[in-house]
Subunit: 338 residues, 3 copies
Amino acid sequence: MSQFTGHHILSVSQLDRDAIEKVFAVANMMQPYAKRQKRTTVLDGAILGNLFFEPSTRTRVSFGTAFNLLGGEVRETTGMSSSALAKGESLYDTARVLSGYSDIIAMRHPAAGSVAEFAQGSRVPVINGGDGANEHPTQALLDLFTIERELRYEGKGIDGLHIAMIGDLRYGRTVHSLSRLLCLYKNIHFTLVSPPELAMPTPVIDAIENAGHRLTISTRLEGSLNADICYQTRIQEERFESQAEANRYRGKFRLNQSIYTKHFQSKTVIMHPLPRDSRAEANELDNDLNQNPNLAIFRQTDNGVLVRMALFALTLGVEHLLTRYEKDVIWHSNKSSE
Amino acid sequence: MSQFTGHHILSVSQLDRDAIEKVFAVANMMQPYAKRQKRTTVLDGAILGNLFFEPSTRTRVSFGTAFNLLGGEVRETTGMSSSALAKGESLYDTARVLSGYSDIIAMRHPAAGSVAEFAQGSRVPVINGGDGANEHPTQALLDLFTIERELRYEGKGIDGLHIAMIGDLRYGRTVHSLSRLLCLYKNIHFTLVSPPELAMPTPVIDAIENAGHRLTISTRLEGSLNADICYQTRIQEERFESQAEANRYRGKFRLNQSIYTKHFQSKTVIMHPLPRDSRAEANELDNDLNQNPNLAIFRQTDNGVLVRMALFALTLGVEHLLTRYEKDVIWHSNKSSE
Amino acid sequence: MSQFTGHHILSVSQLDRDAIEKVFAVANMMQPYAKRQKRTTVLDGAILGNLFFEPSTRTRVSFGTAFNLLGGEVRETTGMSSSALAKGESLYDTARVLSGYSDIIAMRHPAAGSVAEFAQGSRVPVINGGDGANEHPTQALLDLFTIERELRYEGKGIDGLHIAMIGDLRYGRTVHSLSRLLCLYKNIHFTLVSPPELAMPTPVIDAIENAGHRLTISTRLEGSLNADICYQTRIQEERFESQAEANRYRGKFRLNQSIYTKHFQSKTVIMHPLPRDSRAEANELDNDLNQNPNLAIFRQTDNGVLVRMALFALTLGVEHLLTRYEKDVIWHSNKSSE
């Protein structure tokens, strides 16, 4: 039993550094199960209600897979049209009813605050899988977990980290939540690179400064950044007031191998909150980086499974029972050798 | 093995009082599994085909959860657009094919009679999850089961019950089916309160009278009703010929705490076939009743899981094996202490 | 471990006669599990990613059921609108991400070649569930497996077979793939009956001739065909240049009991790649054939489960472990006695 047992996970603001370290410790214990070296049936018989009132294939499947990897079953719903919410049912009623159908709920909904409102009616723990512009705590945790793991290979920790965040820092929910989590750590250097129209919002800037972190703000990539992490986010051209304005920035915030070589260290880790647009006209993260060993974008999504497994195990209070219910994997798996 | 083993559940008219009591007895045995005091793997390896050709989130998830709680797996389909039915395939063909993919089927379809037609082609038992205006037998059973349980706490049985049905009694499928089930019992007093345009249909009235039950019909709530059960259904304003007509009845068939106090006993149980519209302009069942311990609407949906578990167990002939396949619940559950 | 272990199944052209015989041998071993005489939990804990970017209820459910019958879990996605593919994500990225969520993938997608492209990014084996006009290898295998089983009851093999293919041979993907598989066998007699506009494409004709098979081409059914198999495909009237043209052929390529009696042997097996249009105006395969014991269309879909189970078992390298993980079926099943 931990502080997580029986509780909702609604916001990164619930978490202090100890709580995060607990999540990461359990997530690391999940590695052999996700890599199929072993499996565990600790949640055999438990039911996840995977309620995606806003569709999101990869987040939905990631939660479902995480629960299956612990031995549990998944009941799902996608979209809102067939739901009673569309007919005027309150989130309280929906939560009272649907929480009778599962042992834990993962929920995404387009309205900010909706998951917390739902949680008030729920009789089982609710994990926020994204509530509109508000929060997506499991994404923030998997980002930070990825940073921690990538740096550990270099013998570093999160304290003292230099992270460059590039692109749309205004509307990118993930960079806000990640920045807030990093405020719990010591001596971080943030380099923020964005068009002025898409700068990091003032409340996040204030939080970074109040935490005593070092802050460098720029409107273009220049010089050698000496960053440990380069966190890239997509600029959507419709965010600008005019196409003429958008054209001024076109291609200035993309990353490809030659731009990477020019501005970053040979070990700078490249992150991105997928999906990335891989079409020729996109200005984002070029496919020529696919062979770069520092491209961590697919390790991020793999880590998402570990972090979600950890949150399920902690919330249901079984994190100490994983090995007791361990079994062999008897089928052929490429993952064991990854 | 019981009379249910291997058979379809298509209509409440299949059931006599003994059959209903058998279902309820098995549903009561499901309580410790649904409350997570124990679990059972009696249907480990069995597959439910959960075929919702008409979407209905809560009924679909309730069936799926009921099957998971018995240890089984669920394959699902939602909607009709991607189905061969949309391309002229007969229900017979669909049934022949899809019944090859599961051990039992729960099915909802918008057309009256469609589930029975489907069942003729199916090689596995089919449970009707609602076929348009026709039948929704598991809803009727969960309603009656709820009445039985709520009254049992008061030391009463279904015989001798006084039930008030309020609102749209013409189009409300649930009150028709529940009335027909109650015709199998003795000495029931029905108080039917509805606008004249939305009165209970004559065939149901005839069935009630032929069963020798007592009948009181009214077009408004008045006086003290002395009812054991108040079953409320929503009035949809588009049912009236004109808005002017609808306005005459607005607010006359809603229930809130003060109306409840005025017309009902302190122990009258409040029921409703959810979802309820909780918007301010709705005239249905006010949120100020949420703290009223007699509000049984969420116990109804919880009971739906028990009843559906019972029907699965009976139809697949495993109702006597539940305890033999019992296991401990090892994760933290708030439900055990409910 | 076989040649299948850890490999993708993308096209029938990967398969030689030995490989097909291996698939069929394993599919035959699946019969007692599908018939519910026994069950196996050999894939307990394994996860199938059932990715249907193009909806197809029966193929999707057939794959999911096949995996459940081996003891595994299924995570699914249906349609493309909620997928990152709609936002410009490459199939490579989608595959890298989603292959982190499962042990094996079954995938359908509307674009020809898409499944092979996806497979290049996948870290787990991918089974093609249909990629537009290109390939649907599990359908071709289940068709050939059905032929093999139906003829075996007559003491015959595939070598020396006489098959009549009737209807739309131009756009019918299934008859193309089946013809190519039959080219691996000896001494086949193809009778192809179609309107000239909907004749078998030249590359398939060439393949049949290069294999040294006997070929009879006709634009209408005439005389006694002496065929072992009659494989019927639907003619869609919109395939013709004008309705007048379509009307010329209306009713000429349908099959009913009297047409069957006139042109075929009493043991000719009737096949069709369901769904069939059963509406009165359809000209396809009449319902009056439903009692004909040679109508194999529902045995085809049942066999699809066996073939898909075999491909999963072979690809995951567990085909030799099925019986070691065998368990009893404890629920009532009509299937055991079929």
